[in-house]
Amino acid sequence: MMDLQVKLPGLNLKNPVMPASGCFGFGKEYSRFYDLSLLGAVMMKAATGTERLGNPTPRVAETSSGMLNAIGLQNPGVDKIIAEEVPFLAQYDTEIIANIAGSTIEEYKEVAKKFNDAPEVKAFELNISCPNVKEGGIQFGTDPDMAKEVTTIVKRASDKPVYVKLSPNVSNIVAMAKAVEEAGADGLTMINTLTGMQIHLPSRRPLIANKTGGLSGAAIKPIAIRMIYEVREQVNLPIIGMGGIETAEDVLEFLLAGANAVAVGTANFQNPLVMPEIINELPKTLEKYGFSSVHDAIGKAVFV
C-alpha cells in the first residue's frame, strides 16, 4: 500500500491533503458531505482577538479559472473559536491548525497565546497578509522586517510550531521566506491570494465591495509552483503548498516543486468532495509517475 504519511513540525499527517484556511470554515459544513477524519489536517478560518464582521458584500467574484474574495477576516474571535469550534473538530482524527490574524502585533500575540492553551491545536498558520492598522495599512506580508517581527513575537508567545503564510504579492518571495526563517518560523505555507480587481460594467464599480480582492484558483497555480520552487532552492523550512490545486496530479506537481504537504481552497466550492477524491486518487497518481510514497516525491522535480 502506498504510504501517504507526512511528518512535519507538530503535525503527523496521515496524508498530505488539508483544506486551505478560509475555504472550509471550521469544518462543520463539509462534515455533512464526508468524514473529516479522512483529511490530513484542517486549517481553520482566520482567528482574530475579537469578533470581526468583515467586509460589505459582494465579497466574491468569479474570474477566468479563478475567483476574487474579500471576506475580510469575518470570524467570531479566538475565544469563541476555542470554545465552540475547536471541540467540534477535535472529534475527528485529524490535525488542527489555527490560522492567526490581526491588525497589530499585539493582536497576533494575544491570539497565539490563547491558542497555545488549546491542546487540540497542533500548529499555527500565521496569516501575515493582513494590513497593519498601526503602520497605516502596510501589509506585514510584503515587508520582510515586519514579517520577521510578527513571527518573532508569535514564536515567543507560544510553544507550538509556527507556519508563516507567505503572500505572493511581493518582488522577492525568497527574501520574505528567509526573513521569517531567521525569526524562527517552523514552516511556510504558500501561497496566499494575489490582489486583483474586477469592474462590473453596468455599475462601473468594482464588483467586490471592498474594491480589491484576493485571486485564488487554478489561474494562480503556475505562480504558486514557481514561488515554491524558488523558496525550496534557498530556504530549509518545510512548505505546505497551495494555490489552484484541483486534482491529485496538481498535488504531485506541488510535491515535486518542493511542497511537503498541500492545502486545497477554492476547489472545495466547485466540488465539496474534492479532498476525499484527491486523497483516494493520490496513490494511483504517485504510482503512475513512479513514486513509492508521498515522501518519495517531495522536491523531486529535476531542475538541471
Binding site: G54, T57, E62, N268, Q270
Partner: protein
C-alpha cells in the same frame, strides 16, 4: 444536502431569455422544500450557480427550475439538452416557513426571476387549503411567465414596469389596503424588497434574498446579510435564503 448528478429531462424557453427545466434525481427531489435552492456546477466555471427550486414532483422524482439568461454561466446552461447530466448540490438553505394552522390568506409577491420559488410555495399552501393571492412583477410583456400557473393557485395580478402587459407600475403600487392577508412571502430584486418591506412593515412576512456565493454551503462567509439583532451577519446560503422580513437589513 448532497452532491448529486441530476438528469435534465426537459428544457424549454418560456419567455424572453427565460428557461424552464425539469431535472430528475432520487435525493433532492424527495426532500426539497419551497424556498430552497440547488447549486449547479457548469464546466469551466469556477463557481457554481444558485437557482431556486420552482416546483417539485416527488413521484416523478423531478424538480422544476426557471432561470434567466443573465451572464456567461446561465447562457451556457441554457444550451444544455435533455439527457445531459447536471452536477448539483442540494437542496441548499432553508425554505419558507409556514404554519398552516395559523394562517388563512397569504400574499405572494414576486419580481422577475424572483417569481420561481413562490410557485412551489403557493402550490404547497393551496394544497393545505390556504387562500393564495399573487402579485407578479416583470419589466415588460415579453418577460412575463407562469401567469397561467399562478392563476391556478388563486387571484393573480401581473404588473409590468412599462405597462406593456397587465397593470403598469411596480408591485408595490398594487398593494392597497384592500388586500387582506395574514402573511406575505416575497422574492425579487433588492430594490423591490426594500420598497416592499418598508410598505408592509406592519405585516409579518418572509423574504428570499440573493447574494454572490462562494461555497454555497455556509463555510466561506461570502454571502452574508446584516441582521437587526445581535446575531450580526447571517449567511444567505445557509441561514437563508429566506429570512423574516423584519430581521434583515437590506
Amino acid at each position: 444536502m448532497r452532491k448529486v448528478e441530476m438528469k435534465l429531462v426537459y428544457a424549454r424557453q418560456i419567455a424572453e431569455d427565460t428557461i424552464e427545466m425539469k431535472l430528475e434525481d432520487n435525493y433532492i427531489t424527495q426532500i426539497a422544500e419551497p424556498g430552497q435552492f440547488i447549486y449547479i456546477a457548469l464546466p469551466n466555471f469556477t463557481l457554481r450557480r444558485p437557482i431556486s427550486i420552482a416546483d417539485v414532483d416527488r413521484e416523478q422524482k423531478q424538480l422544476t427550475i426557471l432561470f434567466k439568461i443573465f451572464g456567461r454561466g446561465t447562457a451556457s446552461f441554457a444550451a444544455y439538452e435533455p439527457g445531459m447530466i447536471v452536477d448539483c448540490i442540494g437542496p441548499n438553505g432553508n425554505g419558507f416557513p409556514f404554519d398552516t394552522d395559523k394562517m388563512e390568506k397569504v400574499l405572494l409577491i414576486g419580481g422577475g426571476i424572483g417569481v420561481p420559488p413562490l410557485y412551489y410555495l403557493g402550490k404547497k399552501l393551496k394544497s393545505k387549503g390556504i387562500e393564495v393571492t399573487s402579485i407578479l412583477g416583470y419589466q415588460t410583456a415579453a418577460q412575463v411567465f407562469y401567469e397561467e400557473e399562478f392563476n391556478q393557485l388563486g387571484e393573480t395580478i401581473v404588473v409590468t414596469d412599462d405597462g406593456s402587459y397587465g397593470e403598469k407600475g411596480y408591485v408595490t403600487d398594487i398593494i392597497t389596503d384592500s388586500f387582506n392577508f395574514d402573511l406575505y412571502y416575497s422574492c425579487g430584486p433588492t430594490g423591490m424588497l426594500r420598497a416592499l418591506t418598508s410598505k408592509l412593515q406592519d405585516k409579518k412576512g418572509y423574504i428570499s434574498l440573493e447574494e454572490r456565493m462562494g461555497c454555497g454551503v455556509g463555510a466561506c462567509a461570502a454571502c452574508v446579510v446584516s441582521t437587526k439583532n445581535e446575531q450580526g451577519y447571517l449567511k444567505i446560503c445557509h441561514d437563508g435564503p429566506v429570512f423574516p422580513a423584519k430581521e434583515v437589513i437590506l
